[in-house]
């Protein structure tokens, strides 16, 4: 038996996982030789950040080529075909089946952890469990007190911890299956087990700590996204979202394609009341765009606001003794609250002007925003009498790193500020414009 094992091990060692894979995929392969199968120290893989920049990744690869690690390649090859969960799982399967002793599994797991975001499986618990399953079972469980006392199989334990750490970073909570695996692999008092326990202690506690959670899946439709974002900013349950214009494309008489941007606004009854009370001689301003980050997406919004009332125009609501039929609304006493019972804080209030409404649009030029204002006029007749000034900035430009004249006031008809909902899209479009 032993010899058979050994032989098969040998055989498998000769075949690289990549080759096994190509046997499945029946594709012609490169010239990766058997020499590359030699495993070196994986120490350099510890807690490497997930590369995001392609250039950096390239450098990484060069470094790796110099080293003797090859598991990366395994994923690289597969990646050429398709970066999906299925292919990722296949790679893991191939590795697991190749060698009963799972030789080089620590290196493999490090490599796999690094590649997970590329395959889009970095938030998939089953994949993490599958990776954990790569560890051979019961081998690293300490059997006596001395083993238990000292760090038993430190490299393996560290790798396990690293795996859990990555889960933690992506906010993935292990489940019972992970726990069973960890117990089987490292025993119930091991470092990975402790890590698991810590995660299980803190994660549930923090899960709902955010009182304003952003949904994991943001809506794709820009109108829905605007609705969600505006409701988030307004934070008033009475506020009503109005879609002033749905996004659509139309072909004009001259054959040109005209796209109408979406215009979505929000206003609460309180804001309407404030606007109704606004002195029509004082202008109101449309300002923006202001950024709002939702997970990885940045959206921009505009506000309609006025300057704070100058002190001389402020009218104190005077007490009307003929207001309440049933009881006095104020006592006619010359006594104030005692200092010991005055729980209010001494806060210096900065006088800010009222914000009357907010809106989001994919195109922040004045023409589009005018549509919003005229839409608002239907419910706020005062707006018709109030001068409206547009103070628009070229907000999103700065984020792209494109040469920008800098924030400042723009005049009518000037180049509009690009305010796309998704930065990446914006990026592409501005490139297209340049071309």
């Amino acid at each position: 038996m032993l010899s058979v094992w050994f032989a098969s091990g040998l055989f498998l060692r000769v075949l690289s996982p990549f080759e096994v894979l190509t046997m499945h995929t029946k594709k012609s392969q490169g010239d990766q030789g058997a020499l590359r199968r030699f495993h070196g120290s994986p120490g350099c893989y510890k807690s490497q950040p997930v590369p995001t920049d392609p250039g950096e990744e390239h450098e990484d690869r060069i470094k790796k080529d110099k080293s003797l690690i090859t598991h990366d390649d395994l994923f690289e090859r597969v990646a050429r075909e398709a970066k999906t969960k299925a292919t990722f799982n296949r790679v893991v399967d191939v590795f697991s089946k190749r060698d009963i002793r799972r030789r080089g599994h620590v290196e493999f797991i490090y490599a796999a952890l690094k590649k997970m975001p590329e395959f889009g499986v970095e938030r998939d618990l089953t994949v993490y469990n599958k990776l954990l399953d790569v560890f051979p079972k019961e081998v690293f469980v300490p059997r006596n007190f001395i083993q238990r006392m000292f760090n038993h199989y430190p490299r393996q334990q560290e790798c396990g911890v690293q795996l859990l750490e990555q889960m933690e970073n992506y906010g993935i909570m292990p489940n019972v299956e992970s726990k069973v695996l960890i117990v089987q692999i490292f025993g119930d008092k091991s470092h990975p087990m402790r890590k698991y326990q810590r995660i299980m202690y803190w994660f549930p506690k923090f899960k709902h700590a955010n009182p304003f959670p952003v949904p994991l899946q943001l809506p794709e439709d820009p109108v829905d996204l605007a609705r969600l974002s505006l409701n988030r900013i307004a934070n008033d349950l009475d506020a009503k979202v109005t879609v002033y214009q749905m996004p659509c494309t139309d072909i004009s008489e001259s054959g040109e394609e005209i796209t109408f941007p979406h215009v979505v606004g929000i206003q609460s009854p309180d804001q309407m009341e404030l606007l109704a009370k606004h002195n029509p001689n004082r202008p109101v301003f449309v300002e923006g765009p202001f950024p709002l980050w939702l997970r990885k997406i940045c959206v921009y919004y505009y506000i309609l606001r006025a300057d704070p009332l100058p002190p001389e125009e402020k009218v104190e609501d005077s007490y009307d003794p003929e207001r309440c039929f049933d009881y006095p609304l104020q006592l006619d006493l010359d006594l104030d609250r005692d200092m010991g019972d005055d729980d209010s804080f001494d806060v210096e209030d900065v006088d800010e002007g009222p914000v009357f409404a907010m809106c989001m649009t994919s195109q922040g030029d004045q023409a589009t925003l005018n549509q919003w204002i005229s839409g608002l006029q239907e419910t706020n007749p005062t707006l018709g009498r109030v001068p409206t000034l547009f103070r628009l900035e070229a907000g999103p430009r700065e984020l792209q790193g494109v040469a920008d004249p800098g924030p400042g006031y723009r005049e009518e008809g000037e180049e509009e500020a690009e305010t796309d909902i998704v930065v990446e899209e914006e990026h592409q479009r501005s490139q297209g414009v340049k071309q």
Binding site: P204, H208, E322, C324, F325, Y327, L331, D336, R337, D341
Partner: protein, 698 residues
């Protein structure tokens, strides 16, 4: 001896001093001291004095009685009404059909129940408050009829009665009293009930200045569907003293015959289904100028007076209903067997009857004490002599001092302001006016005048809540049967729920009770508290000494028992409890004023407790007074009354103590901060905040 009068006299002496010290300007008013204007000093200030920790025993002791002739008169009124209600009124049908049949209404009219308090010269019965209360006990056996009648006369025609001119009275009251015309009270508008700012109905004067055109709509108008006459409140443009045009509220008498009035569909209500409640809209309804009640722009006061006086109508309603319920339920409990025992042998059932009896007893005592106080004949001589209620030491020296004189006619708790003197730098100007005014409003306007206090309101809050509890307990005795429509309990339950809501919700009434008293106590205590805050050692020591005394268990003696006692010795223990509570209450009020000052208006949870304690104190007084009288004159079953009184007083004593403890600073019993926080978090999200108990996080 009349304590109020003493206070007033001592103050008038001070007043004289102030005047002489200001003699530079006040040389001309030498005749003022002679002109000691008398108010009805014994007016309903009992409850207010409680805020100062005083018991004005002359006010409530002995329990008011009526003469034998009057008693006979009442009984002669009551007997046919009772007969009518037991034989002719089919409450079940009224409830089911949501309509009072015309023959029932005619019967009520024939009995004169549409003009109970309208003076005889206008064709009404002209009954006193006590008699009204007695009739109310019977009328309340049917909630729909009670509300219809109350809407007609407690508020509907009250405007004409208390503020109308002679011509208006002569023109309208006879027909209203006979029931030929039914009245309604149109104040509430979409918006809110107590907020005058929500009134949007407009009355615009026509070009010839002879008619007003009414435009707008009113909601929840009882009798609105068929009322022939309405008291309507609308905004009119009034040019103020400073020449600025202002919208002020004015009261109008509007006949349906004027045209332009439409009534909406009757509301489908939970209880009092037979009464008619609907929306009334006015579309260019022409109202002649002479139909303005009181002055143009004076509608706010009229409305306030009507509402305040209207509250009394429900005082005795609860007790009448509960007495009836006790009879019905006791019958059942005595006959129904369970496990071979009568229901009446089970302790938990017995407790319910005790609760009902006690509540009925307390309500009755409060209602008739209040009615008696309101009926008590005023000052024998209404001319301008007698003690003066004075406010000089409450106002900064040198400013305008207004002396109010209120002679209570006290027919319905309405005082008639017969004159007031204005003492200013130019001396005394005396003016006389014959504007009937509800006393609290006089006070509100003039600041610090010691006048009537709303004891009816106290009774009202207690009865409505007690009534609700009792009906619910009675229903409980019958269990499932009570829940069916075969028995009248469910109807009573539905009907009496309205008592907590209309004529000012109990929350609003509590604010009124507490704030009126706080205003009164505040006026008197301001000087002392200011001294204390300034660090006046004398005042501080006095406070400290009193606190020390309280801590050492010094006996409070306010004179209810002992040598000059007014309470029967059999009730001495309860009277001591009352005294102790009153003293504690007085110091608590002082402490609250010290801590919160005028910002106490914002502290509704505190005010609620203050009102609750005050209601209990007044209730204790009422039962003590009533049962003392019962023992003394040997009424039948007076020992039962004593038992009820002692039980109630002990119960109320501990409740009061608990509430007063909660009112102390940093009291661990006080959960207000948490309560507010819970409410804030729930209201912020506008939903129940907690996760479901079955939810998990992993």
């Amino acid at each position: 001896m009349n304590i109020n009068r003493l206070i007033a006299l001592s103050k008038s002496v001070q007043f004289g001093k102030i005047l002489t010290s200001n003699a530079r300007h006040a040389t001309k008013e030498v005749n003022l001291p002679h002109r000691t204007i008398r108010t009805h000093a014994r007016n309903l200030a009992y409850a207010k004095d409680l805020f100062l920790g005083k018991v004005n025993k002359a006010e409530c002791f002995p329990y008011p009685e009526i003469g034998n002739e009057e008693l006979e008169e009442i009984n002669s009124f009551v007997a046919p009404v009772e007969k009518f209600f037991t034989e002719e009124v089919d409450s079940k049908r009224i409830d089911h059909e949501a309509k009072i049949p015309p023959e029932t209404l005619n019967g009520l009219k024939e009995l004169g129940l549409f003009g109970i308090q309208v003076p005889e010269e206008y064709g009404g019965l002209g009954l006193s408050n006590t008699m009204y209360a007695r009739l109310g006990e019977i009328i309340s056996l049917d909630g729909s009829i009670a509300v219809t009648l109350a809407a007609h006369q407690a508020i509907g025609l009250k405007g004409i009665l208390i503020a109308g001119s002679e011509e208006q009275k002569a023109k309208y009251l006879p027909k209203l009293a006979s029931g030929e015309h039914v009245a309604a009270f149109c104040l509430t508008e979409p918006g809110s009930g107590s907020d005058a700012a929500s009134i949007q109905t407009k009355a615009t004067l026509s070009e010839d200045r002879k008619t007003y055109l009414l435009n707008g709509s009113k909601i929840w108008i009882s009798n609105g569907g068929f009322a022939d006459l309405m008291t309507v409140f609308a905004r009119t443009e009034v040019v103020g003293e400073d020449g600025v045009k202002k919208d002020k509220i004015t009261a109008f008498i509007v006949e349906r015959a004027f045209g332009g009035i439409t009534s909406g569909k009757p509301e489908d209500k939970l209880g009092i289904r037979g009464s008619n409640t609907c929306e009334v809209s006015f579309d260019n309804c022409p109202v002649p100028v002479e139909n303005v009640i009181g002055e143009v722009g004076g509608g706010f006061k009229v409305a306030m007076n009507i509402l305040n006086s209207g509250r009394f109508s429900m005082g005795s309603a609860g007790s009448g209903m509960i007495k009836k319920l006790i009879e019905m339920t006791a019958e059942y409990a005595g006959s129904r067997k369970q496990f071979g025992k009568n229901l009446s042998e089970f302790g938990m059932i017995q407790e319910k009857f005790a609760v009902m009896a006690q509540n009925a007893f307390v309500m009755e005592s409060m209602a008739y004490l209040t009615a008696g106080m309101m009926d008590r004949p005023g000052v024998p001589d209404c001319s301008l002599e007698a003690a003066m209620v004075k406010v000089s030491d409450l106002l900064p020296i040198g400013c305008l001092i207004v002396v109010c004189v209120v002679v209570s006619k006290l027919n319905d708790g309405i005082g008639v302001l017969i004159g007031y003197a204005v003492v200013g730098e130019q001396g005394v100007q005396e003016r006389t006016k014959h504007t009937p005014l509800r006393c609290p409003s006089v006070e509100d306007q003039r600041g610090g005048c010691v006048v009537a206090y709303p004891t009816p309101t106290l009774t009202n809050v207690f009865s409505s809540e007690g009534g609700w509890i009792c009906v619910s307990e009675a229903l409980q005795v019958l269990g499932g049967l009570g829940y069916t429509k075969n028995y009248p309990y469910e109807r009573y339950l539905r009907d009496c729920r309205i008592l907590l809501i209309f004529e000012g919700t109990n929350e609003i009434l509590r604010m009124y009770i507490a704030l009126t008293g706080m205003q009164y106590a505040g006026k008197i205590l301001t000087g002392k508290i200011k001294e204390m805050k300034k660090g006046n050692v004398g005042v501080a020591f006095e406070m400290l000494g009193r606190k020390l005394g309280d801590a050492l268990g010094r006996k409070v003696d306010l004179g209810l028992t002992g040598m000059d006692g007014v309470v029967h010795p059999g009730l001495a223990d309860s009277a001591k409890k009352l005294e102790q509570n009153v003293a504690h209450f007085g110091s608590t009020v002082e402490n609250l004023l010290y801590r919160y000052g005028k910002t106490i208006v914002e502290e509704q949870l505190i005010l609620k407790r203050v009102a609750d304690v005050l209601i209990n104190l007044y209730a204790m007084t009422a039962v003590l007074s009533r049962s003392s009288r019962s023992i003394s004159i040997g009424l039948r079953n007076h020992d039962h009354e004593v038992l009820l009184a002692n039980t109630f007083c002990t119960d109320a004593f501990f409740k009061n103590n608990y509430w007063l403890t909660q009112l102390q600073r940093n009291s661990p019993e006080n959960q207000d901060e948490n309560i507010k926080k819970i409410a804030r978090e729930v209201l912020e999200k506008r939903t129940y905040v907690c996760s479901h108990p079955l939810d998990r996080t992993f």
